[in-house]
Amino acid sequence: MTPVDPTPSGMAQLRGLTQRRFSRRDLLQAAGLLAGAGLIAGCSVPGARASVIPEGYWDDKKPSKYLDWANWPLYLDVGKENGRTVHPSLVEFTKKTGIKVKYEEVIQDMDSFVGTIRPVLASHQATGYDLMVLTNGIYLTQMKELNYLVPLDHSRMPNFFKYADSTSKNPTYDPGNKYTVPWQSGITGMAYNPKYVKRPITSFDDLFDPAFKGKVGMFADNQDLPNFALVGIGVDPAKSTEADWRRAAERLKQQRDQGLVRAYYQQDYISPLSKGDLWVTMAWSGDIFQANASTPGLDLKFVVPKQGAVVWTDNLCIPRYSNNPVSAMELINFMYQPEIAAMVAEYVNYFTPVPDAKKYILADAKAATKKADREELLEIAESPLVFPTKAMESKLYRYATLKPEEVPVWNQIFEPVYES
């Protein structure tokens, strides 16, 4: 951007910009400067892998009174206190432990967040975060392999072992919860705005209905989009082959080239869906719930299509070079108390890893003074999207697990779909 101001000298500057004439000798001199500097061009960029974190990592770690937490937007309970927006669960945490929390909603999508912190960790610098929330999948695996995650101190998280549900313990992507514990889980399914779509949406194929031309939203990532498409064409991602990947990508390209897809979205699909710019879209379960709750008159519908949907887990983990790892452990332990997990679940409406939270939500519903609040809380307590039922679980698939050498192949098949 080059604003030019309208004052006399601004105009003079415009002229000056283009006034000088250059001789061949000037060009040569400038080129000489380039050539001289060319001598230093034989450098390299060092690799990113860090050394293994030693066994006794926790031995010399002292408690601190500060914590910096990187999370996704709208992923923690919100309340008002003296006109300021606060997070009641964090207020409670600070009251109990004396640890001040800097809460940052900086994760918009895994690609760009990991893209930002990876180079920092590669140069052995602290990211500034002590705790962050990463989705299981390609990037989490990579972060582990690069030794960028601190092994959790299991002696400091008794609440996890006491209250976490069975699926949260010992997940396939992190055996023995060595580096991670779940924060929330969610479903990548579909959503629609009944104001514009006058028939029920039930199937993956509805995303391909020519009637929705230019009104369909898809995700722009190398995880949800491919896995959801695989489920859509009837393949379990965990058992998928390269041929399946190509078939799924082909289907998505057709959808795009027929002009059905309006755009590929990261987190930004809710606003166009509410406005009617989008009619049908891929969506995350909790987002739809939250959007309806926070916007009067909005009634978006979330759908787990009959072909099934994708379930993912966002995990709490500690980045390497963290300055306050003990505080991070404190928070992990704190969040696994059922009454705190209930506070979070009531707001974010994703799968909570703490089943006992339900009791507290029901108790809150009983205590609620307003009828609307009570109904909403009851709905949350009974929602299969917060406390999954067996019927729901049978329709959910996990991400494909990729070997490191498969990752580039996978990316090259799916990236051209949304980077077009």
Partner: protein, 301 residues
């Protein structure tokens, strides 16, 4: 600094004179060094990085691997060509939009010229990103523009602008229009009005006078304007990100993703370098087409 900055035209003594002869160097040194370290040398590192091979995890080493260029260009030629096409369209649109306006302000603006110019520059006081976001709002499918048109049945109910190439081109045109207006204004304002009178006296119609007298004389202004719009438009990525949809990705978006998301530095710098090369060639070719010997000379208003 004030002592060193003094002019040396007057002979006040041999010492001062010698010192004075060096004044130019002292003054130019910090700026020159800064530009050398943070502009010239980085260009070399960009080139160097683009010839490396490797990946983020294992590191990049210098192998003078030129084929990265062919590889990335063949992967992303669609986005490359799209960026150039958008830039050509936007540049032409800005000339068409800006010329009559610049002409009127320069010729008939009278005492209020600077007020008009100020209004043209007003958008610059609002962040580029915020301005572009407002277009997202203005052009929304059921926003006050399209919503009204739809209510009047002037366009179909499924008509939309956002997330189409049209929205991206509109956004770009909007953002870069002032860069075209200002150079045009400067070059038109500089014309001697007596030339027009002379043309009129010689029985040229107004249109003829415009086409045969004014237009040729303002070619340098058009050149400067094209330079100031075409180059940034071709490398823009904000408009495509905020206003575009499927199949509107520009080369800037690709470079942004490759650098910051994929950390694929070699491919990203190869594309950056290609982009700059393509733009330079474009500028030279354009200068040639205008019949000037030297690009810089053509740029001189």
């Amino acid at each position: 600094m004030s002592g060193a900055a003094v002019d040396d035209d007057v002979k006040v003594g041999a010492l001062r004179q010698r010192f004075g002869r060096l004044t130019g160097y002292w003054l130019a040194l910090p700026g020159g060094l800064w530009l050398a370290i943070f502009f010239v040398i980085p260009m070399i590192y960009l080139l160097s990085l683009s010839l490396m091979t490797g990946n983020f995890i294992d590191g990049f080493t210098q192998k003078f691997h030129v084929s990265t260029y062919w590889h990335t260009i063949s992967l992303y030629h669609d986005q490359f060509i799209r960026s150039i096409i958008y830039a050509v369209i936007v540049t032409l649109l800005t000339i068409l939009l800006a010329y009559p306006m610049a002409y009127w302000i320069a010729m008939r603006g009278g005492r209020n010229k600077s007020t008009y110019l100020l209004i043209i520059l007003l958008p610059f006081f609002v962040s580029f990103v915020i301005r572009t976001l407002q277009w997202q709002f203005i052009l929304a499918d059921n926003g006050f523009v399209l919503g009204t048109l739809k209510d009047l049945h002037l366009v179909g109910s499924d008509f939309h602008l956002l997330a189409t190439p049209i929205a991206v081109v509109c956004g770009l045109t909007y953002n870069y229009l002032p860069f075209m207006v200002l150079p045009l204004y400067v070059s038109i304002e500089r014309l001697d009005p007596r030339l027009m009178e002379a043309a009129n006296d010689l029985y040229a119609s107004k249109l003829q006078a415009l086409l045969r007298v004014v237009l040729p004389l303002t070619v340098p202004g058009i050149f400067a304007g094209v330079l100031m719009t075409f180059v940034p438009v071709a490398s823009d990525f904000v408009n495509a990100q905020l206003l575009g949809g499927a199949k509107t990705t520009m080369i800037g978006n690709v470079i942004y993703t490759l650098y910051l998301t994929n950390n694929d530095y070699a491919a990203a710098s190869a594309l950056s370098f290609t982009l700059m090369g393509a733009l330079l060639i474009g500028i030279f070719a354009y200068a040639r087409a205008l019949g000037t010997k030297d690009v810089m000379e053509a740029a001189a208003l």
